[in-house]
Symmetry: C2
């Protein structure tokens, strides 16, 4: 049997890690030779989740073609967010909840995307459709992914299906959603021990009308915990812009208690962000009122603005 | 409620037409305002199917943005195979069984692709997952699509799932698969009344490593029925190459009784086809032994050959 690796995006978050582990469990139950791996360091929220449910972190890899010829992707599809050598392997399956872009195959494949808040909401359906039981541990991981991606159902990306899936999973995992959820989000939002690089860990790169755009996001309980270190943050953003030849770097600092954000933008194309939101950056900084979702409230709006 | 149009690819075949009608039925049962339309003339096989099950053909449209802002695609995703103005509307759903290429969205969407022989095999799952009953007429259309795309289960694209789906659908439709299937395929393979343009009706355009490639296919019971009109066929192919600025036009003439094909190739890049199959075109013609599936035995092989 051909071995397959399954992984989520670079700069992994809780959904990416938990989806890779859950997808591997589903496929193993169906007889597949598959291993979940990760493309980067765990963030503190995901570390909390794996520790809580006592699950070992997926193995860290840099490249995949040296190990396998076939891979499965979860929680992403765009090649610049995937393994560096993604073009040297065959993608046989994708389970995702993002837009589709920079993705192309030579052969037909299994592709399952739905416009829901979290990848594990789709995976739960796949467990049921294939009549595979969800274990208590896997239910805990899948629930954590939904809480993380929907900010405890507060994000505009959250759908009825995510909420229903979370309720089913909480029963199996035997946890109280609100209590566990706030504990988990706060573990991720504690920035006091984070290095500057860790503040920018959840960054994704996008190609928008031939411009290279990087968008990072962090969840906090007080935006000043990050803004107080702005000089260091901006220095790192500037060096990443030079290194990756970006046209724009937008850093979204989201308050999970008030559901608002502050944006820091650097690069030649900050005016596109200003036009998109009708804002003005002062010293690279501007409020992004009501913005909590990169996927729903940042990427499509900037994509459209770059297309103008 | 927003009205949605659903359609398959240009130069529609039986799967594209029957999938559009079936998808619309599924969504209507769930309360959607949706209409199945088509992007071109019916071929004789599809005309036979619609006549047999007494279903009106979907309305013919050239563009879609003048009517709706949201569309659903079945049986295709590549923009050059879709409506001319596909980039002016939002694709909210895709159900397909082809490779993914030249497809990009700004927002998350519903995308369901599986590497099976026919789109309606996937649609049957969706009816069941959503607990919507398949009517006798819709079952007949869905069965016809599977017979058409798998050449009565003889194509290498045919999977166990297609066969199982066909058996379930035949029971609902109350037809004998073999008897009805051969009658249907022969209705499509009768080229005696076809104009030269109709011989080349089932043509799809592909972008392969920045080359424009058109691949047409026709099913026949005797390849000489087409080869006897080669001069006219080649003249039309040559004029299409000039009009569309193609680098290659490959016409695959498939014998549905022997499951072999003959290829006619014109354009600057016919050598890529020769290298791909280890053949030599003599007077633009060469045998393609065992080749019956454009999707599985032509597109990936040429894509790879163009990438070299």
């Amino acid at each position: 049997m051909t071995k397959t690796l399954v992984f989520g995006h670079k700069n992994p978050d809780t959904d990416t890690i938990c989806s890779a582990i859950s997808y591997a469990e589903l496929k193993k139950a169906q007889g597949a030779d598959i291993e979940a791996v990760r493309l980067g360091e765990l963030n503190s929220e995901t570390a909390f989740v794996l520790d809580y449910f006592q699950v070992t972190a997926p193995r860290l890899v840099q490249t995949v073609a040296n190990e396998v010829s076939e891979v499965a992707l979860v929680d992403h599809n765009e090649h610049q967010q995937s393994a560096d050598d993604i073009k040297d392997v065959t993608v046989v399956s994708v389970v995702d909840h993002h837009r589709i872009a920079n993705f192309e195959t030579a052969d037909p494949l299994y592709y399952r995307a739905e416009p829901v808040g979290c990848t594990t909401t789709i995976l739960l359906k796949m467990f049921r459709e294939n009549e595979v039981e969800v274990s208590k541990t896997i239910a805990g991981l899948m629930l954590s992914a939904i809480i993380s991606d929907t900010l405890l159902f507060q994000s505009p990306t959250c759908t009825k299906e995510d909420k229903l899936a979370a309720e089913k999973l909480a029963l199996i995992a035997d946890v109280d959603i609100q209590t566990y959820g706030m504990e988990m989000l706060k573990a991720g939002a504690d920035v006091s021990k984070k290095t500057v690089a860790e503040l920018l860990l959840d960054a994704k790169e996008f190609n928008m009308n031939d411009h290279k755009v990087e968008i990072a996001q962090i969840n906090v309980v007080d935006v000043n915990d990050v803004l107080s270190r702005r000089a260091e943050v901006e220095a790192l953003m500037t060096s990443i812009i030079a290194e990756k030849e970006l046209d724009l770097y937008l850093f979204v600092i989201t308050n999970i208690l008030t559901n608002d954000s502050v944006g820091i933008a650097i690069g030649d194309k900050t005016d596109v962000v200003e036009q998109a939101y009708g804002i003005k950056f002062i010293n690279n900084q501007a409020p992004l009122q009501g913005v909590v979702s990169r996927k729903k409230q940042v990427v499509p709006i900037l994509t459209e603005s770059f297309d103008k």
